[in-house]
Symmetry: C2
Subunit: 359 residues, 2 copies
């Protein structure tokens, strides 16, 4: 195993206001005779005919609406890949247009078009053995960094874990700040805070190096600009948040998230809380680990006039608490990054239980 | 033609102190039976046996010492590629270890192993039609951003211009800050200033967007940290300068350099002045175009205790001045980025002549 990760980058990036209009031209050379391009879009756009009319569908291309009320499941990936194989044999490419869930779903489907077996077989590190079909990621909401990720997070029958491999990053990403203009304020905030929180976790973690620091610092600075310094949201805010998401994602190359993500995974497992809001619910109470970051987060919450849900673990059973605690403590690299090699002596089951009770 | 450039990224990046030790392991899967890996190293290392012993040469691998006293020529590229083809038929890959000139030379040789004709045929934009052989860039001096460039600058019989194409970026770059530790202070300064100057030019240019701005701001901040804020050079400075070079190179995706580079190209053509020092000689006198940047540059020069050469155009003939002016005014995109669409009315031959006389 190499000491320093050899980081696979996304192959092509196009950034610019209106660059989504270049999608047709960009994918044209990747079209193979008879094999369609598959567009997977967020159900948010289901009834948006204007947006759907902008998709460059041709011939036997297919549009799929992805319901991402819940985060993507391995079974959903298998179902889509199997039905595409049945209908077309092979496809020219998969284009995921939406938030982190849709992009992750699209990346996973692209991999499962060529890798045998089921998606759950590939949850882990470097289990994917052959490249998937051509895949494109188009964020329509910014913050998760899924557009430059080496993983695609999936809920499987046994675990919530990504297909983390060198074949996972997109062949192409299209970063058009115009596409994130219409995101509802709450959603924009929660997803933006995902970026803010993972930057704090990575910058204060023990795994950091200069590469990740430079990206993390930049993402943090842009988050501060849009969520604190500027009092009104404008087009420039969309541009900056889109870059924050990209830089935040890149910063994960040589770092790791920390306490908020580890605790939030437990919440997601037991209560189905979505990633962005889950991180906010947890980070809201993490003064003891990230005092400066949490203070600044509270200012951002106040300025955006958002109510972070409280008391969501009230009335949970002992068994549910135990499950949350076990899921969370299983995220060893996150805890080690946050608290150092001796993390087990610091974050005991009792302490974590008290933390969950406060949420 | 697309409105926004679809930017080809380097495929793999590894960053970390000591990661050069992973070179053997990284290139192993790319070795093809009987086809050697070719290591092209900077003549700076010619007598450094310790360094040469660290190169993972195997079987019929070959080590070439590149004399980069002058910047690489198309004829030099052809000569190396032709002799490799004659000796081996094909090679597994080209590994360029050195400064911007060596990395550019290695990238060009890799392309000429597979593209027919001569290197000069490919000086321009998107003329390269097929991928080259596998290529790796390893900077041992930081600032130019050549490690992430879409071009490789070459002097040809007719022009100094790169092979600018989607096939030009490296398949792999290895960013090990330990490798730039021994760079002589002068050289480190001039090459670092190449980064500083192209950031100022790009950030104050008319082509800028949020993608390039975020990288340019970061590179500038790191240059300020190492050349102004810190009073002593240490290991962290090497790490920061290496990231500044990378970020500065990335910022060129959606921007362009400006007056300093345009004027410096003329100097290089007539006097053979190297890129880094040439930019410094010119930027030193550009208060009228970049007042803040030049002021800060003067502080950096003072702090590093460097003498920037003066009066280098004294005694040049009319013909030499004319050539410099013509070469410089030929760099239309640089002037347009710096001065806007009406640049020709602003930068007249007379004004440029006066500027050259001051250098």
């Amino acid at each position: 195993m190499m000491k320093f990760r050899n980081f696979k980058m996304v192959d092509y990036v196009v950034y610019g206001r209106g660059c989504f209009n270049q999608l047709d031209e960009i994918i044209a050379p990747k079209r193979k005779e008879g094999a369609p391009m598959i567009f997977i879009i967020d159900h948010f756009f289901e009834n948006n005919e204007t947006f759907k009319a902008r998709l460059p569908l041709k011939g036997n291309d297919k549009l799929l609406i992805a319901d991402v009320t819940y985060e993507p499941k391995t079974s959903q990936v298998d179902q889509i890949a199997d039905s595409l194989k049945k209908e077309f044999g092979t496809v020219s490419g998969i284009i995921g247009i939406g938030g982190g869930s849709v992009m992750d779903l699209a990346a996973a489907v692209a991999l499962m078009m060529t890798n045998p077996g089921k998606a759950q077989d590939y949850q882990g590190w470097d289990l994917v053995k052959v490249p998937g079909v051509y895949k494109v990621g188009v964020p329509t909401i910014s913050g998760t960094g899924a557009e430059v990720s080496r993983t695609c997070v999936l809920s499987g029958p046994e675990r919530k874990l990504g297909m983390n491999s060198d074949f996972t990053p997109f062949d192409q990403i299209i970063l058009d700040p115009e596409l994130i203009k219409g995101v509802p304020t709450n959603q924009r905030f929660y997803t933006g805070m995902d970026c803010y929180i993972h930057c704090i976790e990575s910058l204060e973690g023990t795994y950091l190096n200069a590469f990740s620091k430079s990206y993390g610092d930049k993402a943090l600075e842009l988050c501060r600009k849009v969520f604190l310094e500027k009092k009104e949201w404008d087009d420039e805010s969309d541009e900056d948040l889109m870059m924050a998401s990209y830089a935040g994602g890149m910063s994960i190359a040589y770092s790791q998230v920390g306490v908020a993500h580890a605790v939030s995974y437990g919440l997601a497992h037991v209560l189905g809380v979505k990633h962005g809001i889950g991180n906010c619910i947890v980070f809201n109470h993490l003064e003891e680990f990230y005092p400066e970051g949490v203070k600044e987060f509270h200012q951002m919450v106040k300025q955006a006039n958002i109510d972070i849900p409280q008391n969501i673990t009230k009335g949970l059973t002992e068994e549910q608490f135990d499950t949350m605690i076990n899921v969370s403590l299983n995220m060893a690299p996150l805890w080690e990054n946050a608290l150092g090699k001796e993390w087990k002596t610091i974050m005991t089951k009792e302490r974590l239980r008290k933390l969950y009770e406060r949420l």
